[in-house]
Amino acid sequence: MLESLRQHWRDQAAALPGNAGQRERALEAFLAQGLPTTAEEEWKYTSLAHLEEAHLTLPGPVDLAEAMAAVARHAVPGLEGPRLVFVNGQLIPPACHLDGLPAGLAIESLAQVLRENDTADTLDRVVDLDRYRLARLNTALFQDGARVRAARGVAGDAPVYLLFLTLGDAEALQLVQPRVLIEAAEAASVTVIEHHCGEGEAAVINAVTEIVAQPGSRVTHYRIQEQADSHAQVAGLNARLDRDAALVCHNVDLGGALVRNDVHVRLIAPGADVELNGLYFTRGTSHVDNHTRIDHLAPRTTSREDYRGVLDGRSRAVFNGKVLVAEDAQKIEAHQSNNNLLLSRECEVDTKPELEIYADDVRCSHGATVGQLDATALFYLRSRGLDEDTARGLLTFAFAEEVITRLGIAPLAERLSGTVIGHLPDSDRLREFT
């Protein structure tokens, strides 16, 4: 892998937008350390070893007609409003629309931004590169992405829809690297949906998102992942919240063969608040690993986290949620929960909710459960005449639906509910009930 990346650099450096020096430094630093291995605590349960040997290629130009057809297949119906669409890392202008944006809300192609303004401070503003090394690979070789900026006091209420579509190629194992930067200035609010989907042969997606939330701003972020069963996706979401800023993140994983998400939120000033909602539904032989980390670095910061998982087939899910309270960060409230439903005999879940606390005036809690459907509820439904499979499906759906209802955007929730039902046995019958 390593050599192929150097080759790409030599071939394409000139074509990549932005600061070549910054990209080259990122690449060299990444190559010097290599991919994370299972010997590292943070990667204990997830191996990227197969990428070591893989020959990755950067995607070339896409066929517009093919791209447009694929977009039609995957885009969430009914989601009006501003939209940027990327296929295999390239912007597809005919699929985008940015009409009628409120003044002060800017949605741009990141490549465009970097071409026009070649400064090094657009990238890697928030991400902790030493902790999350894969971001360096993205910085070095990403082709395009989006920047969403809400100016001071602007309410960008309509969700900004960013569709990242990966079409796998039988000829080459493509490395697609979406990149998103969200900036909310003081008292601004903005909502961004990142929708990652894919089809076709195997591909590797390495996404990086950075969120800068200035004092009093509100950011709502969705990362919806519906990759093809052959795709591997790693994604790093990094956010920094200033005084009284609020961030809500929804992370939904319904696809992918190997998925790893790292969410790292830093609450750097009093009053900052974050809420993380997560849902993963793993099937077949898929492997989905969610690592979240919330750093309470200032007093009176708060966080809530609720991740739910449904596991089926021979799949494996990993959850690692860390809450850190720094010294002198008093009056903290942090609550976290992770609940898992195991549907098959061959699946496995590894969960580790962590608290690391260096201040005393705190109220922190976490909980984790692994289990099956409530036997009483199951019995109740069956006693009302449902057959067992339907009853199970219904209860499983209800378990997942609690996270989906929190999404708050009807077309999106509808789409995801549909996908979840489709994953359950007896889905036709279930549709009648829901």
Partner: protein, 482 residues
């Protein structure tokens, strides 16, 4: 391979015959560790050849192991070549001759804990007349156990008197290669306790090291092996609430428990080794491997611990739930004050059907201490119907300490039910004010609240131990408030 091993054995025994340690009569070996030292220890204890070999194998593996670094503790590297691995009991004339020669601070603590006068001398290492109160106690005690067929003796004695039992079970729960400190212990352990409860016997009394034969100088590398045969029951108490005088900084004990079908072992520990002074100077490094194997169906192993001592504690009493319907329990209170560091917890490995485990952990941090809970609940595919409940609470006293929770849950059976709950909070101002308003002093109020916080664990301790543990907690937290 077999030839190689044979050759090796031959080489080893030949060397031994040649006796490179001319001074076999010596009471102490110079600091340092090599195969000769291990042979010396083994020879000193007149051990059979298989045990010498067992030790050497452990040693050779230990050499290949890195020092573990994953625990949430910090300390300077230990120089294993600077430790003396064998020293005979101190001669009476070297010990303090009376309590007057003992550090008054130590005596003050004994007073607060209400340690009986005759016990204070023994604990402080005063040379006590051999006709000591507990000798008669020990005799009646031995008779009573003998009638029941219970074997309770020092590890060395067990090796001599019951070699077949020792050979069968030693290392069967904690293999020599298990971890760095277990390997070291296997190579150099000097003594410890051995317990065997025969089939169907309910041990007629609590077995306590308080009255232990050969209690002195089991040393820093202690080895305990408890085997409960089918349908038997035993409760074992380890340690003592009084701070023991000890000059060895590194303690790396190994405790192995084996519970066969329908057997039950209850193992209670109160650990109060020297924690170092308020600036963190001195203090014991307590790196212990404790593990119980519920080998038979319906067996049960229960660990209860109150950990207040040591500069660094690194300890995870665990249960391997192999037998169907077997039960593992872990109840723990860990207190860290001043500059103490504790990284403690448990592992529950569910292998058998319908195995159940309960974990109740109460961590208290004060001063500038760091206190971490680290636990693993693993449910293997074979563990149909496994259940675990974990409650893990941390209490913070003061704003310079830390409390950390690292629970690992690995579930591979869909019928498993695992619940983990953890909370971290400081002593509530409301609670404190309520007690003060009722007329209690701040110190009493804190003690009362802390003891309440720990109650679920204390009630698992044998009665007299529980009372002592409460007193100990209060002494350990002295000066933490205000």
């Amino acid at each position: 391979m077999a030839t190689n091993e044979h050759e090796l054995e031959h080489l080893v025994s030949r060397k031994y015959k040649h006796g490179f340690f001319t001074d076999i009569e010596s009471d102490t070996v110079p600091p340092g560790l090599n195969e000769d030292v291990i042979r010396f220890i083994s020879a000193k204890k007149e051990e059979p050849e298989w045990l010498t070999e067992w030790r050497l194998k452990a040693y050779r593996h230990w050499l290949t192991m890195p020092v573990p670094k994953w625990a949430h503790v910090q300390y300077p590297p230990i120089d294993f070549q600077a430790i003396s691995y064998y020293s005979a009991p101190k001669r009476p004339e070297d010990a303090p001759q009376s309590l007057d020669e003992v550090d008054p601070k130590l005596l003050e603590t004994y007073d607060k804990l209400g340690i009986p006068l005759h016990e204070r001398a023994r604990l402080a290492g005063v040379a006590v007349d051999a006709v000591f109160d507990s000798v008669s106690v020990t005799t009646t005690f031995k008779e009573k156990l003998g009638e029941a067929g219970v074997i309770f003796c020092s590890f060395s004695e067990a090796v001599r008197e019951h070699p077949e039992l020792v050979r069968r079970y030693l290392g069967s729960v904690v293999p020599t290669r298990d971890n760095f400190y277990a390997a070291l212990n296997s190579a150099v352990f000097t003594d410890g306790s051995f317990v065997y409860i025969p089939k169907g016997v309910r041990c007629p009394m609590e077995l306590s090291t308080y009255f232990r034969i050969n209690a002195a100088n089991t040393g820093q590398f202690e080895r305990t092996l408890i085997v409960a045969d089918e349908g038997s029951h035993v409760s074992y108490l380890e340690g003592c609430t009084a701070p023991m005088r000890d000059e060895n900084q590194l303690h790396a004990a190994v405790v192995e428990l084996v519970a066969l079908k329908d057997a039950e072992i209850k193992y209670s520990t109160v650990q109060n080794w020297y924690p170092g002074d308020e600036e963190g100077r001195g203090g014991i490094y307590n790196f212990v491997t404790k593990r119980g194997d519920c080998r038979g169906a319906n067996s049960k192993i229960s660990w209860t611990q109150v950990e207040t001592g040591s500069a660094i504690t690194w300890k995870y009493p665990s249960c391997i739930l192999r037998g169907e319907n077997s039960v593992g329990e872990f109840y723990s209170v860990a207190v860290a004050n001043n500059l103490q560091q504790a990284d403690t917890g448990t592992k529950m490995i569910h292998i058998g059907r319908n195995t159940r485990s309960t974990i109740i952990s109460k961590g208290i941090s004060a001063g500038r201490a760091q206190n971490a809970y680290r636990g693993l609940v693993r449910v293997l595919p074979t563990a149909e119907g496994a259940r675990n409940f974990t409650q893990c609470d941390s209490l913070l006293i003061g704003d310079r300490c830390g409390a950390h929770t690292f629970p690992y849950i690995e579930a591979r059976n869909p019928s498993a039910q695992i619940e983990h709950e953890a909370t971290t909070s400081k002593i509530g101002e409301d609670q404190l004010f309520y007690c003060l308003q009722r007329g209690l002093s701040e110190e009493d109020a804190v003690n009362m609240i802390v003891n309440g916080f720990c109650k679920e664990v204390f009630r698992e301790l044998p009665m007299e131990f529980a009372v002592e543990a409460q007193a100990l907690l209060n002494v350990s937290l002295e000066g933490a408030v205000g």
